[in-house]
């Protein structure tokens, strides 16, 4: 019955639901974006490993930034002492970074790469480090041989049609033998990983200089062991850095958790903006629905009178108009769902190609359908209740007299 009444004014009904469409659309977009963000976060966290500590001068949380600046670098010598004294860790691996270097192969050239010097055990720090070939070995590491492992994007740019293994590239003009390539690892907040070239740390020192700040990767060998290892790492590092008992740590022991905190901040922002937009559009949407329901009730005064004469109770009239309002909102959410699905499909593709943003899915999460339905039912009931109540309370005699 309610549906039939709406059919008569399709255009009006569709226009009225516009606010609801925008509201539900915002909710869906937000859900889509946050779901993408979550999957990206998991991907990123898996890159850093859930049982790996990163001992560094810098604090990843961004706190103590000023203090970090004034701290002395972690030297290779300190790393060696640290490694020697650590008992609980599975692997202790030094790394150092240098950014934005020119890399060539034949006529092809790439800028903006990140050169990482690392110990040979670095391949154990993260899972699935190698796509093809191999990581450099202990001998190559010890002897500072010019070998390199390429990030996925570097392989793509410099070796579009050629197998890079066994080829020689030039980093800052110096020749390096490619021994392995990495799979695509880049993810949200860590997209530089695909522009990374890993070379033996000792070779790295030769290329840049030994006076480099190191980050020491400490793999605990299980997330459950992480706290023990952290405890030991702090103690050992304090000794290595010759800190007196009353002095604060002049280093940070970072882990993926810090990354998660930064992501959470982003989530809060997305969520906040989304909620504000959603609230506003639902306000507009409900006013629209309420308005059309008032019109509908007024237009159908006579019908209400007839229905009451035939035995409709206040409750059944109330329900009739509430169902109508909810149906309007459900229609709105259906339109929003179709629209948002198209945006997700096209948007994820465009963002991937144009901006390199890969974490957005091309489909909406299924749970969003449930959310959209629940939200539209609630909005429909809230917006419809006052007009429906007015219709339900009409005096049958008065209503029958209406034209």
């Amino acid at each position: 019955m309610a549906v039939a009444a709406l059919n008569a004014n399709k255009l009006r009904a569709v226009l009225t639901t516009l606010g609801v469409v925008i509201g539900i659309g915002t909710v869906l977009m937000m859900g889509w974006f946050l779901a993408g963000l979550d999957s990206a976060l998991e991907q990123t966290l898996s890159i850093f490993g859930d049982d790996v500590l990163y001992v560094a001068k810098w604090d990843w949380t961004g706190e103590n930034w000023l203090a970090s600046r004034n701290r002395s670098d972690i030297s290779f010598n300190q790393y060696q002492q640290f490694k020697q004294r650590m008992r609980t860790a599975e692997y202790v691996v030094p790394t150092a970074d240098a950014g934005a270097k020119k890399v060539q192969f034949g006529d092809l050239q790439m800028n903006g790469t990140v050169i990482m010097g690392a110990g040979f055990e670095y391949s154990h720090i993260v899972g699935d480090a190698i796509a093809r070939g191999r990581f450099f070995n202990e001998i190559e590491d010890e002897n500072a041989l010019p070998v390199a492992v390429l990030g996925q994007q570097i392989e793509e740019n410099l070796f579009p049609n050629v197998d890079p293994i066994g080829k020689t590239i030039r980093i800052e003009g110096m020749p390096f033998l490619v021994v392995g390539t990495m799979p695509k690892r880049g993810a949200l907040g860590a997209d530089f990983l695909d522009r990374q070239i890993i070379i033996p740390l000792r070779r790295f020192f030769g290329l840049f200089s030994k006076a480099r700040d190191l980050t020491i990767c400490v793999k605990a060998g299980g997330a459950d062991k992480l706290e023990n290892v952290r405890y030991e790492a702090i103690g050992v590092m304090r000794e290595v850095r010759s800190l007196a008992p009353e002095q604060k740590n002049d280093f940070a022991v970072n882990e993926q958790k810090e990354f998660r905190q930064q992501m959470d901040q982003l989530r809060v922002i997305v969520f906040g903006v989304g909620i504000a937009m959603t609230g506003l559009s639902f306000l507009v949407g409900s006013i629209g629905i309420m308005n059309i329901m008032f019109v509908s009730v007024t237009e159908r005064t006579k019908e209400i009178g007839v229905r009451k004469a035939l035995g409709a109770t206040r409750r059944s009239i109330l329900m009739q108009f509430l169902v109508e309002a909810v149906f309007l909102c459900l229609t709105g959410s259906l339109i929003a769902f179709i629209f948002t699905s198209i945006v997700a499909l096209i948007g994820s593709q465009v963002l991937r190609e144009q901006a390199g943003i890969t974490f957005l899915s091309s489909t909406l999460p299924l749970s969003q359908i449930v959310v959209a339905i629940i939200v539209s039912v609630i909005v429909g009931v809230l917006a419809g209740i006052i007009p429906a109540f007015r219709g339900a309370r009409m005096d049958p005699v008065e209503a029958l007299r209406a034209e």
Partner: protein
């Protein structure tokens, strides 16, 4: 019989009064003025009567009809419907009485324009909570009863005025009500079609239905067996119709 029986319905010797109004007053307050639409009306209608309520506009006959139809409640006085006091009932109980005991037929038919004949006739059964298959069955029977077996899936705008009123009558009959309350049922019809509708009422009466006709037209009222005339909120006269226009006297006349 005298319509001004003041006996309680359950006391009426051997006779069940479907409608029993005792000292019914309906008063409206308009600003500082009190307007009496009905004053101390007492009235009884028995099963299978065919009554016409007559009166000029403003006489109070519409108010009387609304109260009899449980669409309105009196300001004072008692109204018994089938022995049940309805004048103090709440909205939901009144809705149930209207739904199950009263079949309304309106001057303007008042069919739902977007529903076909069958759906229109089913509507009271929807509110009565009758299951869909029984609903369909009973609606079909009611439409057959009024001679519209071949028009069931037509929408009101595909039907003539007379056919629309037949649908409305089928809708009134479908719940097997105690009374059929018809408000100017031929007011929007031409004379010939109006006569057909009046013949249908005659037939329904002979089948045992109680019919209350509200009209201001003498020609229409003349079909009834009893005429109640209302003026200035009071019953002016109430008695058997001496000039009945029926083609044939009913076999089981419910009048003395």
């Amino acid at each position: 019989m005298s319509g001004s029986s003041s006996a309680q319905p359950e006391n009426a010797a051997g006779e069940v009064q479907v409608i029993h109004l005792a000292n019914i007053t309906r008063m409206y307050v308009m600003g500082s003025e009190r307007i009496y639409a009905l004053r101390e009306v007492t009235l009884g209608i028995r099963r299978n009567e065919y009554v016409a309520i007559m009166g000029p506009s403003g006489s109070g006959k519409s108010t009387l009809m609304n109260i009899i139809g449980c669409l309105d409640t009196p300001s004072s006085g008692d109204y018994y419907f089938n022995g049940e006091l309805v004048s103090t009932m709440n909205d939901a109980d009144l809705a149930a009485i209207r739904n199950q005991q009263i079949g309304f037929v309106f001057q303007t038919f008042n069919l739902l324009p977007r529903s076909d004949a069958l759906r229109n006739v089913e509507l009271p059964l929807v509110y009565a909570g009758v299951g869909s298959s029984e609903r369909r069955e009973r609606a079909v029977k009611a439409l057959e009863h009024v001679g519209l077996a071949d028009r069931m899936t037509h929408k009101p705008n595909e039907l003539s005025g007379g056919q629309r009123q037949r649908v409305a009558i089928a809708r009134a009959l479908v719940t097997r009500p105690s009374i059929i309350l018809a408000d100017e049922p031929t007011g929007n019809l031409d004379t010939k079609t109006g006569d057909e509708i009046m013949r249908l009422f005659e037939e329904l009466w002979r089948q045992g239905n109680t019919i209350i006709l509200v009209t201001h037209e003498e020609d229409i009222a003349r079909h009834a067996a009893r005429i109640i005339r209302v003026r200035d909120g009071r019953i002016e006269s109430d008695g058997p119709n001496e000039h009945r226009l029926a083609s044939k006297e009913p076999a089981a006349a419910g009048i003395a």
